[in-house]
């Protein structure tokens, strides 16, 4: 019965995809918006990465929505996984092997640098706050995997997360007080392609990166810490 339902669903999905692709002029998309943004984004926003120009410059509100969705998901995850009651149970966690411990020591600085690079160069090269934030979360989670007895402070993570989210909204509000729309890029655009350029976009991405990193690190810690409680 389940197989039949799966088969039916798969058939319907393939039919839908075939119907959609059949009606599209495939390979000749009329990329009008893309072309327009490619011409306009560099002088208007000052970012060499046009994806960032769209995500933060033109569509900052959508990014705020994305952040709130992630926040809601992480909060729900934290609620479901319960509070931190790892003190008594930390003993149950098995000690990590040598390879994991040595690997964590080697990878931690590399991941930290990679994450910070991706976040800070979000307006110049591919990447940005979300990707770099996840790398940062992984960087801080890896040592915890190697040493189950240690732990980061949930309080500090919440403080970082809250401050970063507030900074993102505050940057948007400052633009509003200047008379522009919410989340309009602030400051001077600078020289195209330099690290300090394109106004407030790097600051926005820094806030996004810190928020995503703190959120996901805290979620992963909750997931990893009091394991053995359910089994």
């Amino acid at each position: 019965m389940r197989d039949l339902a799966t088969l039916l669903f798969l058939g319907g999905l393939i039919f839908l995809l075939a119907a959609i692709t059949g009606s599209l002029p495939f390979g000749h998309p009329p990329m009008l918006v893309g072309q327009a943004i490619q011409q306009v984004a560099a002088p208007e926003v000052g970012a060499t990465n046009f994806v960032t120009a769209v995500v933060l410059g033109y569509r900052g509100l959508d990014t705020l929505g994305e952040l709130s969705i992630l926040f809601a998901a992480a909060t729900a995850g934290g609620l479901v996984l319960g509070g931190v009651k790892s003190r008594g149970r930390a003993k149950a966690a098995p000690a990590a092997g040598f390879i994991l411990r040595a690997g964590a020591d080697v990878l931690f600085p590399l991941l930290l640098i990679a994450g910070l690079y991706v976040v800070i160069h979000g307006h110049l090269t591919p990447g940005g706050g979300f990707q770099g934030g996840v790398i940062l979360a992984a960087a801080f989670f890896l040592p915890l995997l190697a040493r189950p007895h240690e732990s980061l402070s949930h309080t500090w993570l919440s403080v970082i997360e809250g401050l970063a989210g507030a900074a993102f909204i505050a940057l948007g509000l400052v633009a509003m007080f200047d008379g522009a729309a919410f989340l309009t890029p602030l400051f001077d655009k600078g020289v195209l392609g330099e690290l300090v350029s394109s106004g407030s976009l790097p600051l926005l991405y820094l806030a996004v990166g810190l928020k995503v990193g703190a959120e996901l690190a805290s979620l992963l810690m909750r997931l990893a810490q009091d394991d053995g409680a359910a089994s």
């Binding site: 149950a92 979300f130 990707q131 996840v134 997931l223 990893a224 394991d227 053995g228 089994s231």
Partner: protein
């Protein structure tokens, strides 16, 4: 370019099949990560590096980690070959 794309698609589909067929859940999670990695390479070939980075970081890294941790929480993360002293009480 085209040959590379065909190879990557074949590997991705193989990994996706492995997710369904593998009995070991931990191995299935690893295969799911491999699917995401293949998709990320495809995004690079299609000249979408931003999406590729997100896919590699979130799909291949984070979701695999979360699934593996969930398996550990549920007590399902068992390796077929018992490693001496480790993971026996997971």
């Amino acid at each position: 370019m085209m040959e590379l794309a065909v190879i990557v698609v074949a590997l991705t589909l193989g990994a996706a099949l492995a997710v369904l067929l593998l009995d070991n859940l931990l191995a299935a999670v690893a295969a799911a990560s491999a699917v995401s990695l293949g998709v990320a390479v495809m995004f690079v070939l299609l000249q979408a590096p931003d999406v590729a980075m997100t896919e590699a970081v979130v799909g291949a890294g984070l979701s695999g980690l979360i699934l593996a941790l969930a398996l550990r929480r549920l007590g399902l993360a068992r390796l077929d070959v018992p490693v001496s002293g480790e993971n026996t009480d997971a």
